[in-house]
Symmetry: D2
Subunit: 356 residues, 4 copies
Amino acid sequence: MQTEFITLNPKRNVTLAAYIQEVKGDFRYISKRPAILILPGGGYQYCTNREADPVAMAYLKAGYQVFILKYSVKENAKWPNPLEDYEQAMELIRSNDEKWHLYKDKVAVIGFSAGGHLAGCAATMAKNKPDAAILGYAVTKEDLIHQCEVTAPDVVSAVDYHTSPCFLFATRTDQVVPVINTIEFTQALVKYDISFESHIYAYGPHGFSTGDTSVQHRDTFLCSRAPHWVEDSIEWLKDMFGDFDQDAMTEPACKKHVTSDYDPMLSIQCTFGYLRSCANAREIMAPFIAWLDEHREEVARHIGPAAYERTCKYGMEGLYQLADSRTFQEVLSNTNFSQEEIHRIDTCLKQLPNIR
Amino acid sequence: MQTEFITLNPKRNVTLAAYIQEVKGDFRYISKRPAILILPGGGYQYCTNREADPVAMAYLKAGYQVFILKYSVKENAKWPNPLEDYEQAMELIRSNDEKWHLYKDKVAVIGFSAGGHLAGCAATMAKNKPDAAILGYAVTKEDLIHQCEVTAPDVVSAVDYHTSPCFLFATRTDQVVPVINTIEFTQALVKYDISFESHIYAYGPHGFSTGDTSVQHRDTFLCSRAPHWVEDSIEWLKDMFGDFDQDAMTEPACKKHVTSDYDPMLSIQCTFGYLRSCANAREIMAPFIAWLDEHREEVARHIGPAAYERTCKYGMEGLYQLADSRTFQEVLSNTNFSQEEIHRIDTCLKQLPNIR
Amino acid sequence: MQTEFITLNPKRNVTLAAYIQEVKGDFRYISKRPAILILPGGGYQYCTNREADPVAMAYLKAGYQVFILKYSVKENAKWPNPLEDYEQAMELIRSNDEKWHLYKDKVAVIGFSAGGHLAGCAATMAKNKPDAAILGYAVTKEDLIHQCEVTAPDVVSAVDYHTSPCFLFATRTDQVVPVINTIEFTQALVKYDISFESHIYAYGPHGFSTGDTSVQHRDTFLCSRAPHWVEDSIEWLKDMFGDFDQDAMTEPACKKHVTSDYDPMLSIQCTFGYLRSCANAREIMAPFIAWLDEHREEVARHIGPAAYERTCKYGMEGLYQLADSRTFQEVLSNTNFSQEEIHRIDTCLKQLPNIR
Amino acid sequence: MQTEFITLNPKRNVTLAAYIQEVKGDFRYISKRPAILILPGGGYQYCTNREADPVAMAYLKAGYQVFILKYSVKENAKWPNPLEDYEQAMELIRSNDEKWHLYKDKVAVIGFSAGGHLAGCAATMAKNKPDAAILGYAVTKEDLIHQCEVTAPDVVSAVDYHTSPCFLFATRTDQVVPVINTIEFTQALVKYDISFESHIYAYGPHGFSTGDTSVQHRDTFLCSRAPHWVEDSIEWLKDMFGDFDQDAMTEPACKKHVTSDYDPMLSIQCTFGYLRSCANAREIMAPFIAWLDEHREEVARHIGPAAYERTCKYGMEGLYQLADSRTFQEVLSNTNFSQEEIHRIDTCLKQLPNIR
């Protein structure tokens, strides 16, 4: 492994450490690697090594190129300095993809506590968004981050449908960063249909890092599941980035958005509710909706007695409530439309751009 | 193992299966066991066996007495029938603690989907609350449960500080029960300071049960972490109920409430904010608050520069924001009060009943 | 789950408990299940429940039909009574495959301590051999089993190439059954090319069963890896029996023999050494061996300098030592024979029966 | 993390890479760390990076200082060159314990394939023995190692009671290093009462390293348990070295020898058989043996019917066979000697040096 230590901003004492693993040679089928940028915590007053090297080792073992950013703290932490540090680091990483043997569209960020706030900012506000973000007992709410740095922004309200996919973890009993910071962030991700995974462990102190006994003392009141986030986040990244293959990564299992409502073109994989709202899909949807109106009670009976009762009472509105969050494909599978007809509808939809 | 099949309500076809394990004899140090009551899902239209026996086996292996309730469904599911079935089952289980060799104050409930709705009702509304509740991809919101059974109640709004501790799991891509049902329930648990653990996995279909390939086909688009809820819930129950010991269970690691704000007597383990709001603690708190007012900038500087800046700007209100969610003990540890003084304050507080 | 309790031999007090899980219905794609027969330990003096029900639960959860045999003990344990009990149980299980919804060619046996001795006898001596055998801290050597029952046979010396594939586990510090019982058994399995997996954990007492705290007290000096045998054995059985699929099991990853030297027909998958010893393959092998003799130093140089030196010194014998344990296919891949020639050789070999 | 690259022997191209982690500072309670020296494989023809950095990362994450030795290969591999390289590296590591913040009595070695042969030599023949050795699909038998390097020694026959504790793993289907290399080594460890743990996985190719998909292609025929050796070896090292504590490591769970027969002084923790063979213990043992002779049938009956029968038939010899491998303490617990008498015997034994 090669290490490189780069000063990004001497005035603000911002540094980037690069841990770069070999490719090709003994690692025959590997010509590039995914990468991860670590943002340690420390309340914007310092950057703790407890959340730097021990975290790096886990992703190095999993095959990643790893970077650690010591961003602006204390009097230098005035916003947007830390985010600028992140932007500078991410730009440097992506523009050195050849030299550092990495996939520039597979660069994750991981941050802890205040570093988790910065990772959240990266995932929501940055020009150079990460391809995935891991937030450990992160501060996301304005009221709390202001206790560290009064100029730092709220993250929850910055979530939109451009936000990066996120993996979150925290402990329920964290006295420093209340768990509501994690929960409200997941709510925002649901609202904008962003892929995520979230683990809230029953108990443990703030700042437990990997939970290894070399980082967090073995007598700590930390629940047995808490250290699982490390392996779980590696598996989740595999779902987001794909797995190592011959000079490539395999197709990822997960997309950024949970539904297809944000794909470039429409399809029967979009939700029924979304398609109903698309002006350019109206013509294609109209005959189906007419048909549905005619057969609504029959379809509802197929779904179940409560659905039936509901549809009898509220008509189409009742049926829409049942169907709007499902894909159009699933809705169609509850009708007697033939495979050919369904395929024809899909083909038509796929010619329509998804205008937002 | 002995099995018993009991008809609880012949008219509504409600049955209870009991899987009872041996005690003493070859199991020398075990004279009683904790227990769990399983509520399978099925949209209040049926009770699926996929969420009954395979789930039972996991807890039997872990040493539990296990019960499976087939509650009222279809036309019998009018509220409060299913909850009455639960009450009847729970009463029967607890009153047969001797016969069935179980700890009557260590009986958990686990429910899936609509069964998870019923488990949530048990944890919030029942007379016979479970000592812990596990909710798998559970329906908790009124709008959704009404699609199954229009008379069934909302669970989120029923949470209060009497609610049982909960373990929750779900997949982010569940098309049948949107994940927001899990998230909003955890928010309510935070509000009332109830202990919980929550795992939201990146993807997987509704109703994956244990995720074993004997229950959910191996080709399912189900993320690798999803089956971990089984082992994790067993470890969590160990934290809530204690572990097997000589004719007893060990002291549990977790309490029902995260803070001490719901203990019978006050103490320095209560949060600072809560103690400030207690009329009967005012006299004891007054000298400390006076002292704090005098030394507020010094204490704030001790916490950090942002805290200092904030306190200079907002005075005591700024400091309260920092301190209110921490225990009084932790607040005191940031002052120069001596161990003796701190102990004296605690002793005084402990003589005061916690009046809500 | 249905339970059935059958008396196999009233005089000797031999019983079989059957734990039978549902198929079809809610378990749509499952029409049969693999099965396992449990033989608890107890020094042929009794059959402990600690190694019966808790073990059963693990395999039930994994989707198996499970049977527990209480075989002949004490004065009834004179050989071959216990083995006869096993034969009777196995015959009953396999002949009731329809009734009990099980694959009769996917029935494993698991035994502990003296029950492990009986499982070992089943795997080596029985008429009704199990399709896989799991041996937990098993007695396999005559000198030790004679301390329990003087008429019981040695198992190590009974291994031959008909022996069932085995999964073995034990602890290094077992004072009751020295670990050499496990090691010598694996040596015999190697000799006869039988598939196996073996885990010897650093420390733990005899008879720890599943290692769950409901079976073995939490304060036991038992190393953290020991309870892993349960999950590992389930994964190993999946390798031997295949995984659940639509009304079938998938193709198993593992065969009974490690090499193809025991397949019905010869092939380039057989080891080079074995093919050299087959009279009926001589004609096919001859040209290759002549070629090899001619190019031996070139081939050896291809393998490495030590191989080269060795071949220069010892001639063909040196090369044979390097090649005999490898498959003929691998040996051929170190030559410049074309894919077509290799394919032709394989086709010829595949027409020859494997005569032993 | 600091990295250092040291040339140990420029003529033979021997190098040592040191990956040194921080102590104190952010790692408050850690002032030293245990260490591990990695010996990659490559048939004494090269040292593969596949078994260097990826392995290093696992132990770095676990808190270790890590060293990688590229030892003498090819024409420089003549014995004892590689072992001398090891000795030089180990001496350097231990003599720099202050500079590199490591416990010099807690330095493990790990080797793979031919590197496993070298690790085995280190554990058996070196002056600077490691405190624990991990052997991955290691060559231990002379016939095989001679295929790589004809001057290299047999390891199995070099085991004695000074050998370091060992953790071994291999796959059953390894075509390059037959599994018998691992099995015969464990047998030798049993003979000399050395602590060990061993995992033989059902299938997988030679040289799979950590089994991560970044090292071994995901399509490899490698069984699911094989990658577990990494975590398991870390837990085993914790048992041998203790866990991180305040400026110290906790007391290890495991000793080098399984029994107390190699302790400096005798005690009732020694095996009965060994104590019977100690000339200086004869006087203390005599009255007990006389007593045993008198009560032998009574004691044997206490153990069980087979033991009783055996003792009736063979007299004291029969009883010795049952008792010799157990600790004297356990033997005494089967008699009616009082706790005081037992304690008195132990006190007397503890005054006797263990002369071998």
